[in-house]
Amino acid sequence: MAKYIVRRLITMVIMVFVISLVIFIALQSTGVDPVGQMLGVDNYTKEAAEEMREKLGLNDPIIVQFFRWWGNIFKGEYGKSIALGYTVKDGLIAKWPATLEITLYALLISTVIGLLIGMLSAFWQNSIIDYLGRGIAVLGNSMPEYFFALILIQIFSIKLGLLPSAGRIPAGGGSRLPNLILPVCALAIPLCGNLMRYTRNTMLDVANQEYVKLARSKGIPEWKVYIKHIFRNSMRPVITILLFRLTILIGGSVAVETVFAWPGVGQVLTKAITASDYWVVMFYTLFMAIMMLSISFLIDLIGALLDPRVRLGK
């Protein structure tokens, strides 16, 4: 097991490296001239640009620049926005709390409700709760989240005037809850629908297994059959999908943040992409890649812990 973990970690490091190299080269070869943007149209002269290039080390081979960038990352210097001048630390990392605020709530709420309704609708198949859950799942699956967000705004902010439609109250600026409700709902309900459907189907699948019949033939009550046998054996696939959604913690939902003018990383990223601000993009990509890799590592690890075959090292 320990050997397996070490091996996985090593491949992970290599993969992060490869991914960052690919993105680095790709971004460098997009032909965007950072110097031109930094100087602006007014100050732009060939000499000034050349001087700046030399100063920033942009004339060095890509590989050298790449390792310099990595070196800076290790030193804690994550780079600077070319177009807007902010450092990644102030402009991007500082925005994470805002993103985390809505994504964490959305994840928590959708996980609890999704699992619960999913389990209940597997238990009471074809009941009202099952149809309700399936209805929400179908809607959540077929409506883009930002469109759903627009509808929420139309109903609750514009027509009913109950909730604010945009912005975030900074710390100490009064109650933050009203501003949170709509964005969290817009994120949580589609997530919730998917999880419900998945939990339900996985559990129904497991319920057809022979060992569930054997468990029933022991005369144990149905709720024990469901918890101990059916749910326990559905956990591995369900946890996999749960972990995969953790990426939105880091990545945020760009579209929903845009609709609600939520000052999170999604917004920063949109602006950075529009301005071809590649240090910001680079850093964001690196983080997303690390996040994705860690999650797939976690999935394997938890899967192994849940499955005795892997856990005991076969």
Binding site: I23, L139, L204, M288
Partner: protein, 302 residues
Amino acid sequence: MAENNVTNTNTTNSIDNARKYGTKLWKKKVRKFFNNRLAVFGLLVVVIFLVLMIGAPIFTKWDPNAPNFKAKLVGPNAEHLLGTDSLGRDLFARILYGGRTSVLIAVVSSFIGSTIGTILGAIGGYFEGFIDKCLVRLQEIVSCFPQLILVLIVVAFIGPGTWNLILIFALTGWTGCFRLVRSEFIARKEETYVKVCEAFGMSNVKIMFSQILPSVLTTVIVQLTMNIPGYVMQEAGLSFLGFGVPMNTPTWGTMLNAAKASSILINNPHCWLVPGLAISLFVLAVNFFGDGLRDVMDPRQQ
């Protein structure tokens, strides 16, 4: 004598039955599909959408791109079935013509992505070993790229456009199909009929594509169908943010982009409700259709 006759007719009957069985099974599947009301509804809606979009010039007299400043932001009426946008362009016409692009992007991306995924998955699953390891790593790397970043890179390289979007979707979208086909191949490769083909000295390529692939194909087709709604939504999402198709090309996504102007968001909800509902209805219909298709063609998949 009489007894013998009975036996004979029975035997002939069963041979006939066996012959008929192929077509009977197919008929049974069609019947099963049409028993599923949601699937039939999905099929119907998809067909209506396709007919309207393909025959767009017959169903609307408006040019989707011609501005009409005399009729800006009018609500749905007899003249403009679904109203007009801020430039006075007819929304019904834009939905039909725009739908062409949206659906084209989704279908073509899904098709190319599934083809790439199937071929790579077949190779990886059949040969295993080193090639397989490389392909699995490649797949992991691809699924780690945030799609938005890829769009940026491609847009910066070759400029924004419909085909660039398809390229990105196809390049990032093959991984699901790859995993599916790969695991099917790994499982099926051990089956007797494959071993028999190997024993007869059939070439690897022939076994892969003429023996194993057909039995995996239904799964791939179902997967391909089920991927389409996702691409419709992704196109709309990217275009909504302004990174997808150029703004002057009507698609359901670029139409939704109008809602980013707060005056339209507040005062003219029909401008964004119409494309939003079009997306939702289409995606819903394809999902229902796909579910029904899967139940009939590939009941093992949940």
